[in-house]
């Protein structure tokens, strides 16, 4: 009897449990370690933080090898043997780039920027709490529009016609779309930048660098100046450039900020300095993808990096080396030549001295190495940094360029000019670099080479005619290894033009060769080599995987519906 009672009770209890099936809550498992889209954007701090990501990891694919290969190798500031990127400096191998990993790295990176900017632009107005001040919401939206514009600006300069995407979800079910024409993309960029100019906060860059980190209305104006310049809309370019200059928001190191030099611009400690218009904000030492990868690729060796990387995958060409005069203070902070001593690198052993020949050699046999964006060991940078992850920011634009834009916009396509506004602007940069001021800006193009020596293999003496363009050369010296040269070459022959005769001739005269140590002689022996692109190669091919997913990419573009 007792057994029967116990059995009944136990069985009954169990059946009861079985019968009452689990509550609905039991099956609700939203992420425990991630915020869901619907729960975010509720406070001012959340809205401010929502744009942080747009300054970093999304750009990663472009900032490293990929961007350097496209801009510096193809442009002619760098050369390489490195088998993974050698095709970028060799136009006869250009066709292989459509399937190249580095090519898709840039493409993907810009579309990452666009996808995340779009997500913010589309989610924020819907999800944001009414407690957040509209100005903060608008500033975040302004930043997102700015980022999207800058990403398209890079895409259009590298690939030409590309599809404009403003909301990923529109294309989920059908991504077979055409590209949009270059002119429409520029129009779209201007529209986004004008939005940013209107909505981003106005700022004055001060000595508290951390508060300079974000882009402002002035950053949008500066970027607008550059875009207008590419479009050869000189009036608007000039007006935006002057708006920036007159605002006093940004300051030139060594000119407006005394005691600082060009070299100081690239120290980790000076991230977000007064000259910075838009910098990518890396988390030094953080996991791969969050830190700055440039040093790893550019540094001459692992003694400099202290983290076993430092591959010197790109060496400065002799063509670039010859472009700097001995008085140019930018040279040593841009490229290393034999004997150069850098007290800021490898400080624990008293600084790094670049050996060059006759030591084992130098980066890519150019007897030189890249310095810009090379910042040294973690110990040299306040303990921060790791393999492929340094904490120095990457410039997308700095104030010095605004003066070069101003000079070019004032000249408005003239061959020569002695307009004081233009001279003032370019000389500001030249003087800072230690060069003598110009009295006339000469953009004549090819002129007889005064140094021509028949039979010489030195770049500066090799050609009977050489290209003379004070603005182009100044930009190149100022911005070398800041990913600009290729874009400048692409616009020399005009805005959105199919043929590039001038640029082709410039490139075909660049010595991209190597040097071999000749121990018996004080001079290194140069083995020049020259490359010539075709006009079609001024646009990079779409990544093959993208074309195979959407064959319409290679068809004629269709107008964008604004």
């Amino acid at each position: 009897m007792r057994k029967f009672i116990i059995l009944t009770i136990l069985t009954g209890a169990m059946l009861l449990l079985v019968g009452t099936s689990c509550k609905k809550e039991f099956f609700n498992h939203p992420p425990e370690a991630a915020i869901t889209v619907g729960n975010f954007y509720q406070t001012t701090d959340q809205v401010k933080a929502s744009t942080n990501g747009l300054y970093s990891a999304v750009w990663f694919g472009y900032v490293g090898k990929s961007g350097l290969s496209i801009c510096e190798l193809a442009g002619g500031n760098g050369r390489t043997y490195s088998p993974d990127i050698s095709a970028y400096g060799t136009f006869s191998a250009f066709s292989s780039i459509s399937t190249d990993f580095e090519n898709s790295a840039s493409w993907n990176a810009f579309y990452n920027v666009i996808a995340q900017s779009n997500a913010l632009i589309n989610n924020l107005p819907v999800q944001v709490s009414s407690n957040v001040a509209p100005a903060d919401v608008n500033n975040a939206l302004g930043e997102a529009h700015f980022m999207r514009a800058v990403a398209y600006f890079h895409l259009v300069r590298i690939y030409g016609n590309v599809p404009i995407v403003t909301n990923s979800t529109d294309l989920i079910s059908n991504y077979q779309v055409h590209t949009n024409p270059v002119a429409d993309i520029y129009k779209f960029i201007i529209k986004d930048l004008l939005f940013a100019e209107t909505n981003c906060n106005k700022m004055i860059r001060g000595s508290t660098y951390a508060s300079n980190a974000r882009v402002s209305s002035g950053s949008a104006s500066a970027m607008l100046a550059k875009v207008y310049l590419y479009m050869r809309d000189y009036a608007d370019a000039r007006s935006e450039a002057e708006k920036v200059i007159n605002s006093g928001e940004f300051k030139l190191y060594g000119v407006d900020i005394p005691g600082k030099t060009f070299s100081d611009l690239f120290l980790t400690a000076n991230n977000n300095n007064e000259e910075s218009i838009f910098q990518l904000q890396w988390a030094g030492g953080a996991a791969y993808g969050f830190g700055n990868p440039e040093q790893s690729i550019l540094a001459y060796n692992s003694t400099i990096t202290g983290t076993s990387d430092g591959y010197a995958q790109i060496g400065p060409t002799f063509n670039l080396q010859d472009l700097y005069s001995s008085s140019d203070q930018r040279r040593k902070s841009t490229i290393m030549l034999p004997g150069d001593h850098y007290p800021e690198l490898d400080q624990s052993t008293g600084g790094f001295t670049f050996p060059g020949f006759p030591q084992a050699g130098s980066a890519q046999n150019t007897n030189a190495a890249v310095k810009k964006y090379v910042v040294g060991t973690p110990a040299d940078n306040g303990g921060i940094g790791a393999m492929q992850s340094t904490g120095n920011n990457t410039y997308i634009m700095r104030y010095a360029e605004v003066f070069l834009i101003e000079a070019e916009a004032v000249m408005a396509g003239a061959k020569t000019s002695s307009d004081p506004m233009a001279l003032n602007a370019i000389n500001k940069i030249r003087t800072r670099a230690g060069l003598s001021p110009l009295t006339v800006i000469d953009r004549s193009g090819f002129v007889p080479n005064p140094n021509y020596v028949a039979g010489s293999n030195l770049d500066s003496q090799h050609w009977p005619t050489i290209y003379k363009d004070d603005l182009f050369d100044e930009r190149r010296r100022e911005l070398a290894f800041e990913n600009d040269l290729w874009y400048d070459l692409g616009r020399l022959d005009g805005f959105n033009v199919p043929n590039h005769p001038l640029a082709i001739q410039i490139i075909s005269q660049q010595d991209r060769g190597i040097a071999i140590d000749n121990s018996s002689s004080a001079e290194v022996n140069r083995y020049p080599s020259y490359e010539a692109p075709t006009s079609g190669q001024f646009l990079f091919p779409y990544p093959a995987t993208e074309v195979s997913a959407d064959p319409l990419l290679t068809q004629a573009p269709v107008p964008y519906k604004f």
Partner: protein, 1056 residues
Amino acid sequence: MKPFFTILVFLGYLFFSSLYIFAQGIQEQEIKGDVSDEKGSPLPGVTVKGKNSAIAVITNGNGEFFIKIPLTVKTLILSSIGMQSQEILVGKKGVIHCVLKNSTTTLNDIVVIGYGSQKKGDVNGAISSVSAKEIENIPQVSIDQLLQGKASGVTITQNSGAPGSQTSVHIRGITSLSLSNEPLYVIDGIPVSGDANNQATSGQSVAALNGNNYPGESGVSPLSLLNPSDIESIQILKDASASAIYGSQASNGVVMITTKHGKVGSPQISYDGYLGTQEQGKFLPLMTLPQYANLENALADNEGLPRRVEFANPSLLGPGTDWQKAIFKSATEQNHQISISGGKLGTDFYISGGYLKQDGTIIGNNFQRYSFRSNINSQVKDWLKFGTTLSGSRSYQNASISNNYGIVYLALLAPPDEPVYNADGSFAGPPANQENDVNKFNPVASALSITNLLERSNLSGSAYAELKIFKDLTLRSEVNGDFNFGKQTVFNPTYTYGANTNSTNKLQEYQPSSNYWAWKEYFSYKHIFAKKHDLQATLGHEVNSTHWNGTTESIQNFLSNDLQTLNLGTAKTAIVNEYKDASSLESYFARSIYTYANKYSLTATIRSDRSSKFAYGHQIGYFPAFGLSWRVSEEGFMKNAKEWASNVKLRLGYGQVGNQNVPNYLYGAALNSINTGLGTGFYVDKVQNPGLTWETAIQSNLGIDFTILKDRVEGSFDVYDKTSKNFLFQTPLPAFVVGGSAEYSPYGSINPPYINGGKISNRGFEFNITSHNIQSKSFSWNTTIIFSHYKNKVLSLASGVPFINGNLSVGFLNFTLTKTQAGGPVGEFFGYKSLGTFKTTDQLASAPIQFGQSVQNSGNGTWLGDIQYEDTNHDGVVDAKDQVPIGDPNPKFTYAITNTFAFKGIDLSIFLNGSYGAKIDNVLNYQIAGLGQLYANQLASVSSFWSPTNSSSNIPAPRNGNNPNLYPSDRFIESGSYLRVQNVTLGYTFPSNLIHTIRATQLKIYVSGQNLWVFTPYKGLDPEIGANNQGVFLSGIDIGRYPSPRIITAGIKVQF
């Protein structure tokens, strides 16, 4: 709250019930007896049990027994493995002589079928069984590796030969495109996923950190924590009619593992141990220093560099460093296990402890495991039984760096002109300016100086009670849990190896943990109506929940390389990360098995699962199945054939199962946190799709089981069709829609939405046949053949998805190696067809232009010595459109043949395992035979590359960098067929009269050779490649896998 309540009720229930154990008064009688076989030899180890009683003993070495039973017990049951059971009426005589007959068939073996068990002969579904005997004496670390070649329809490939590494187990082909294809393992009722990448939970391996900065194969076997010696039997539920009881967890099949239980009778103490030595069986012939120098000169010429002075005359150089010899070593292995088992008065127990240590054949690798298990069952009352299982294990696994860019890879490419050590004994490194990605790291230094230790602990257990409500109806209530804790430590020291320096040491730690609990209750009913209608039914409810959590920390700048703890690093370099989530599942299931007259049988199963992995409204899935069988041999018309065909049974099954290995919150969009210079940043992780639901596999099976030719031959043959559909599929969108992984960094892109779509079919057949060739008094010879064939075909992908690429980065190259598209198999190799090298200028002039390159002997033109590719689409040019499928990584069939011989006490088993028809993409050859990079050694076989003086060679001339000669093509596709002498074991069992003096009941010694020889046309290290991190799109791709070693062991097995 609910689990606590459950446990409380359960414990109370156990407590009350146990009060009654001791309250019995017994009137007993004593019975003596002996048991022998048909030849009169005494049979030790026979279980003698009172019918309807818990009391039992086993016979001693002389086959004798002594048992005390209550007077109420009238019958004894005698049973022993491999013998037919016998019931004996107890008379008044008190002494019993008994003869047991050999049972040659396995039809009476009990097989576990999930929430119940059945006699093997009665099973209606497709189930393969493997017994402990078949896998004993094989020195493998984990059970997934042991199953290789033991069951038909199961394709097992060891993805790496590293100790403790993972294995791919595919039951009947590839079922899922996006989720894991590993089966569900159910160990004594506790489910364990075979997915080394933990897709359904943390999404990463428990060894997620890499010793170097390169991604590689990192998974470790989830099953390496289970000691194979504890296993009693394994059942593999292959078709849906068998596995549907596991519903949404069963689409990849279910492997049921039952551990050993004590047998009623006098306790047994067993020791099982072996010592072994392992060595690398095959080395790749690499260039010697003179050949290497010759290549370096050719590459220098190609790049316009001067030749290196020291290589001016290659023929004068010595052989150089043999890096393979430097990293491989012979290694020892040892395994010990002690178990005590027995049972008395209705209580049985099994307790074991084990220790295994396996050194790797690559320096710096080893694996150690301590394990413990206790299984206890007690029939406390005739209406109540309860039991517990508890197992714990701890393992230590030292690895150095992973496969891709791993030690083997680095050693193959390391230049022979560099020494391993400097004269002062320190590690050597590359001279300045002769560094590149691959020769930068001294492989020996990397293997020995990088710490990469994985410690894992596991505790799992269950407790159950079985309540007999009335004679035919029982209710079983069970709680179980599985708790895992891991810790991986990776330390990169400071060093200077030649020109390669690292002045920043770094420690990374990763602590993953997971816990699982489940509570299940089910009723079992069994009754025979009118002697002919046998009905079994099961009805149950189960609820389970899994929580997982992991933290990673890294810190840099230690003052010394010796002490490696987080507190000793520099605080401001610290980076921390954490993940945490949970999931839950609730299920109802029902099964009934109806058998008429032992002839016709029907099994019908249904399970409903409700999962937290999906949004409300899409959480519930139903998984029905049925199986029919017809035992033809029981029919009247077969009566005369009975002697020749004692059992012939036809089976037909159909059912649906699902796949539960889904990551959490796939249906919604979250914000991933990332590190930026501005502080934490947030990225939208994916495009949401709240309508996401189960992926299903529909399976049908037709099979026949047979025991024929006077029970000499038994086996089964099955054909099946398995169609899986509605994959949980991540739409592969072009990057312009949502962004994409860039420069190996996945951060920033918005993941495309997961959708349900696509369909793949696997059709195949499989059979296993065991033939008892000779069965005489002193000699026996048995042969077992296992054969499996399947054809995998993609029927459709999701709408808008024309194909899925399998991409891999190898060194500086990144390739699309496979393309999965409708009509072809999953992960089919894709590339160009090569036509040998260009040997004449005429050939150059007449061939279609390749990749838009001009015909010229400079830079990047096409020239003599380059590979000519076929213009497969005949459009006059060779370009990307000429890529075609160039090979299927799926084998045409796999097979295994086991021969066992027994002569008196000697037994010999020879186990061959083979695979035929799979293709391997020898991607390693892009690097070690690519002739594309300075300072990297190459295979000796390519030293005869094309040159003007060797113009008939089909090996292309050295070309720097990413050049068309290295494009994916059939040049790199090789046959992956192999026949492996997997295991040969020779054992001797001492006769019982000899060992009686040491009071042993059994003593066996054996020697065993594992992986003794491989017959294969494959030129790489090992043709058994498996899948890169178990991924289906990159299987059969050799990227420098850790080769399986040859192992010789000697073992002893003794029982008291």
